[in-house]
């Protein structure tokens, strides 16, 4: 994912115009898991959802090409899109999950552009559903889901009832390539279009971005000959 990120001159955000966008890698893993569960016949239908401007339909098509059955494009553009954050998306997902009577909502654990790691958890809270986050293994057992979670201390296994929210971590699976014949078949699959208002979701953000800056450029280091020199230098610049 080699893209040169530049901060906008007015420091309001990052330049996204003309920058290549593609599916978040953790979301790819989530789609792959959903398709796998369908192939193992644990679930009947996989619906791919994306919120954003028209371009997101391309991403939905990729999900369809990977094996999802249909897509939903929740149209959000302009100022609403720039201000959109995990809370708004979670509200949309919660509304859709109820509307579609979903048994599982599977998302990537976090998006690699903002690294929030909140959407899955917020969705579960809004729905009052159990959540299995940072999943590295998912097994469906009757009406329950066994989730192995990657946590700082190691691995934690939990069993939660469906309906539930799961978020995918890196080692859950290796996403398949969308093959060209599948992409062509995906063209015939339907993508429904709707607005947040249709779901009764208010997109107003409670968060205001004050300023975005690039990380400070790394300063060159200084080599010293002895430990005494090191101590002297550290004292001189006030570190100790």
């Amino acid at each position: 994912y080699i893209v040169t990120i530049r901060v906008k001159p007015d420091h309001s955000g990052v330049v996204t115009d003309g920058v290549k966008h593609s599916m978040n890698p953790f979301c790819e893993i989530a789609v792959e898991e959903a398709v796998k569960l369908k192939e193992k016949k644990f679930i009947k239908e996989v619906v791919a959802v994306s919120c954003g401007p028209t371009q997101v339909t391309e991403t939905i098509r990729t999900a369809l090409a990977m094996g999802c059955d249909r897509g939903i494009h929740v149209e959000v553009s302009g100022k609403d899109y720039e201000a959109m954050g995990p809370l708004q998306i979670a509200k949309i997902f919660a509304a859709l999950a109820k509307k579609e009577e979903a048994s599982l909502v599977i998302l990537g654990k976090q998006a690699i552009d903002d690294d929030c790691n909140q959407t899955g958890q917020m969705t579960a809270a809004l729905l009052d559903w159990p959540q299995g986050t940072f999943a590295s293994e998912v097994t469906i057992d009757g009406e329950k889901v066994k989730v192995v979670r990657e946590i700082d201390g190691g691995l934690e296994t939990i069993k939660i009832s469906m309906p539930a929210v799961l978020t995918a971590d890196l080692r859950l699976n290796t996403p398949r390539y969308a093959t060209l014949p599948n992409i062509m078949k995906a063209k015939k699959k339907k993508i429904a279009n709707m607005k947040p208002a249709d779901l009764g979701v208010d997109m107003v953000s409670r968060v205001e971005v004050l300023r975005v800056d690039e990380p400070p450029t790394r300063l060159a280091g200084v080599k010293v000959e002895t430990v005494d020199d090191l101590v002297a230098k550290l004292k001189a610049n006030g570190t100790i």
Binding site: S22, E58, P181, K187
Partner: protein
Amino acid sequence: MNINRLIALSKSVQFGKILTSNARHATKEVTLPNRTIRTHARNLAYAKDLFLGKVNKAECFPYPEIGNEELEEINSFVAPVEKFFTEEVDSKRIDHEAKIPPETLNGLKELGLFGIQVPEEYGGLGLSNTMYARLGEIISLDGSIAVTLAAHQAIGLKGILIAGSEEQKAKYLPKLASGEHVAAFCLTEPGSGSDAASIQTKATLSEDRKTYLLNGSKIWISNGGFADLMTVFARTEVVGEDGVKKDKITAFIVERAFGGITSGKPEDKLGIRGSNTCEVSFDNCPVPVENVIGEVGGGFKVAMNILNSGRFSMGSAGSGMIKKLIEMTAEYAGSRKQFGKNLSEFGMIQEKFAVMAQNAFVMESMAYLTAGMMDRPGVPDCSLEAAMVKVFSSEGGWICVSEALQVLGGLGYTKNYPYERYLRDCRILLIFEGTNEILRMYIALTGMQYAGKILTGKIKEMKKGNVGVALEMLGRKLGDALGRKVDLGLTGMDGVVHPGLADSAKKLEQNVAHFGSTVENLLYRYGKTIVEEQLILKRVADVLINLYAMTAVLSRSSRSISIGLRNHDHEVLLANTFCTDAFFKNNYWLTQLQRNSPENQDENIKKIAREVLEKRTYVCSHPLDRTF
């Protein structure tokens, strides 16, 4: 005659000479012999009219566009293929081991890349030529894979696609499209390379007239070591209309399963080392008569059609590769410092980038113009244009890769960087799919044959007493002699070229007019014997290639300006720079083609060659030798 005196008074004595010689030669019929390179002026597309000094605007302007839906589709294909090539293809390993790993080949099959142009009903993707060219840009990131795929679908199974019967298509295409069976194209033999019509492999009909027995051997067959299905060309006995028995070439679909087929060991090549190339021998291989492609005896035409239909994609493949090289090299030039400055600040380095950018620009423009023309309904014959794309792209690619390597200097020369591999992989482009020498002959002679026919027609009309035609020709000659300004409709009120490119368009028009009269000249001077004059035909071909390139570039940038594409002013810059450069080159070559031109050293060149080849060695005495 009054005309003669007028001409004697005009400043350009040369044109005067042409007119008087015209008067003398007007009675000589201009016909060209039946050449071994068969061309049919079926419905040849754009380039043929350039030989008459005419620009067929409607063919190339506006620049072909694809529909929104098709554009979306092709963009959705590009991403997964790019992803696969960046993540799963280890070009260095493929080159080192001279093998494409089976996992990689399987990945390519699953992606659907083995049946790009096979219709959907037979399990392929059914993509147009334009889309094929677009995918070619990405596939060319690895030379061995590109050649393996091309050998399979651009030529290996193309015969079935374009000339096969419904039964043959239904029987063979599905497994070929999925990659379960891989195809190969078997034409070349040890004794027949460029001279493809001289092949000796024989196919003899059995007593019961149900099977052909194939005997002979083919060399340089890509995928020859493992192909399950081959399009093989062999001589069959055909009884002509006059009852005379002749041995004519027929195309066959041959399955390895038929038996009697042996593949030699893989050739150890300079480049595209991952592509399997070997000898394939047929020993009484039985082929059912149902497997003849097209008509018995019509194989040569099938072969030429197959080769002509795949050539254009070399343009997009080449430009894809150069674009990648520009990125890699620019990174280096922008960070490497010598003499206190970045390399990118030095003129000679900057020139290299300008050359690479121009070449990529021209190649792309030509490739997609040709693909767009080929995708038009009615299947126009773009073999001439495709050949021009191939010649330009192969040579341009070779130069650009060399320059890119040069920017990196010593680093570029090592195997730690991919430049040397690109260089080695690139070299084959000038050789296969028709050597550039053969293609130049094809380009020049096809056009001259067409022009010759038209001219002969006009002369016939004149002899019949058609005054109109005579006056028209005389009028044109006078106009040229008196330096009338050329206007072929590219600029001005109904001009198809955007006013921002008017200068370059005028240069193109001038070149075309000059070219047309030069061609006419050559036909009058040489008649049939023009076939022998390779050095002349070479220049004719080179000028034509430049003219087509200029057309493509002007058409593309006109469109870009008109629709306001991003960075169109850079396109205008590239277009104008290329056109000016090509204009002067063309003028020089055309000058060399005039009668008794002092710039033309062909006689000396041939003399040198004769003396060297006679002795089969360098002829001069050593500079240190003494006579006493």
